[in-house]
Symmetry: C2
Subunit: 341 residues, 2 copies
């Protein structure tokens, strides 16, 4: 049984409250008393009981981060950044992996969490729009990645559509004519995929290029294997593309793998651009052109927003905010080749 304030108090010959005062750095404690108490604390190896503190204060110092899967480099990197950002506020981050299951995401939103958290940063995959409205749960939530207009909670994201258009324009700008897209998804909650598709189409139109439906490849999920399979389908089509915009870097890396396996040169025969700027793309061969969202900023903003909502009373209320984070296009070998580096 670990020692409590009670034990320390007995050891030091003072009241429980005095020990508490010492622990909390209360000013008006006689130096001598403080020393004696501190000594007792060290001797017994006292550690404050967080559960009790939380019970009194209502704060746990823990925020939850819910992502589809840590295995994806993008989410892993995001998680790492958020852990760091949270650290500066001495919060700890608890990870919830939803695996993209709608059921689990719903539970999260409904506040059916098993553990006491002060706030939630949530990157939804299966849920969108109205479904994200909280039911009764007061815990502040910040949404990442989905652009839910007039959504029910604070929201941080880059301009997906514009970024997708940038990527597509980059391909068109280097003279590509048959620009394919890998990553389209049908289901209504696939907001990300739809926004990127919209950006792709808009850019094609703007560039005066035809939008051939045969050049849009659907995927089940956003992993390397999906990208590889989709690329194979495109290549097997009647008129293979000369460029591909993949909706994330994993798809792109999978696509490149297929291309090289089949003897196509990248970017010679087919240029490829991805989305996310994960580290893999900086060391792959060829290195991967991509859209780089300002991940550090996203993490910071998400944590800041939570912090504001947690601020006592005043700043806590207010309508949900939409925060836009900048992105930039990083041209690497997969679109511009080696020499231009």
């Amino acid at each position: 049984m670990p020692p409590g304030l009670k034990d320390v108090a007995a050891q030091a010959g003072v009241s429980i409250k005095t020990v508490s005062n010492v622990v909390n750095g209360y000013v008006h404690v006689a130096p001598e008393t403080r020393a004696r108490v501190q000594q007792a604390i060290d001797a017994l190896g006292y550690k404050p009981n967080m559960a009790a503190r939380q019970l009194r204060s209502g704060r746990s110092g823990v925020i939850a981060l819910a992502v589809p899967e840590l295995q994806s480099p993008y989410f892993a990197e995001l998680a790492g950044r958020i852990v760091h950002a949270a650290e500066r506020r001495s919060w700890t981050v608890l990870i919830d992996q939803t695996d993209g299951h709608a059921e689990r995401e719903r539970n999260l939103v409904a506040g059916l969490r098993r553990h006491a958290i002060d706030g939630l940063i949530f990157s939804p995959l299966a849920l969108a729009g109205e479904e994200l409205a909280r039911g009764g749960d007061e815990t502040p939530m910040v949404l990442l990645g989905e652009r839910v207009s007039h959504g029910p909670a604070d929201h941080v994201a880059i301009d997906n559509t514009a970024a997708a258009a940038d990527a597509t324009r980059h391909l068109a700008g280097s003279g590509r004519r048959r620009i394919a897209a890998i990553g389209a998804q049908d289901f209504p909650s696939a907001v990300t995929a739809q926004q990127r598709l919209a950006g792709y189409r808009a850019a094609l139109e703007q560039a005066g290029l035809p939008t051939d439906p045969a050049l849009v490849a659907q995927v089940e999920s956003f992993h390397r294997a999906d990208g590889a399979a989709a690329m194979a389908r495109l290549l097997d089509g009647p008129q293979p593309p000369d460029a591909v915009f993949c909706f994330n870097d994993l798809l792109a890396l999978g696509a490149i793998r297929t291309l090289l396996e089949r003897g196509c040169s990248v970017p010679g025969d087919v240029a490829v651009i991805g989305f996310d700027d994960i580290e893999d793309g900086r060391f792959s061969t060829p290195t991967l052109s991509t859209i780089a969202p300002d991940l550090g900023r996203i993490a910071e903003l998400a944590v800041d927003l939570l912090a504001e909502r947690l601020g006592e009373g005043e700043a806590a209320a207010g309508p949900p905010r939409e925060l836009r984070v900048s992105h930039r296009l990083v041209a690497r070998e997969s679109t511009v080749g080696r020499d231009s580096r």
Copy 2:
């Protein structure tokens, strides 16, 4: 203020304890009472307060996972697996990122955590051996990855040395003569690096190959950039290697990048093998040969060990255990080329 048992009890016209009994599924509650209470619960949107529960029970249902960095695919994957394994016990995982700082790792081990956790799964980077001994903290700990013989806590790992020897033997077996190693580290806590180096040396000796110190490349850390730089140094040496054993996959991917950049063929001119079997290696070009530890098993065992230590009284005690997890060699293009696939 969220409703508590008290409020529900008032609403339903029963005692607090009865509500508690309903919530906890206690058997002897009249169906009618139960219904009435349940109705009150739903009406008020009651959610049990975890802090209070924990205060009573001493259990939080949260375990911490401390890793150097989530950004590394290996740790991200590991984290994902552990989250899953923990889920089956309805535990939640709290992530601590140490960044490999000795100071932070020491705090962890000393139990200076800021939050209430039932157990700790720790993959140390900066600390080794005696330094890992707990000071007073009773929270069960499971160590990952470091082979601390007679260590202070339960420990799960693969046989690093044997695995490294396997990798090296694989290279030697395909006729390579000048086999380099990338990933050596000097400092005393770099146990992993030293074990892998030992395995490498042992295998070379066994194969009757000379161990040229010029073929052992030191690295600062285990990232792609380090691998790329180390490979460059090796190539600039007087007698470049015809094969490289990299102490993890990131180093290997970095090394491959350098090789291809300089026009070397892989595995034609130089064969490369890594360690960890991260997903990147399955879709890189060439695909990466590697040592695949049974990551799922590691995660399960780690969680199981914690669970045992948390089991009431009996099974909880006992000396620290060393659990060995199997690994296998996965030969891919980077050592055996395309055709052999």
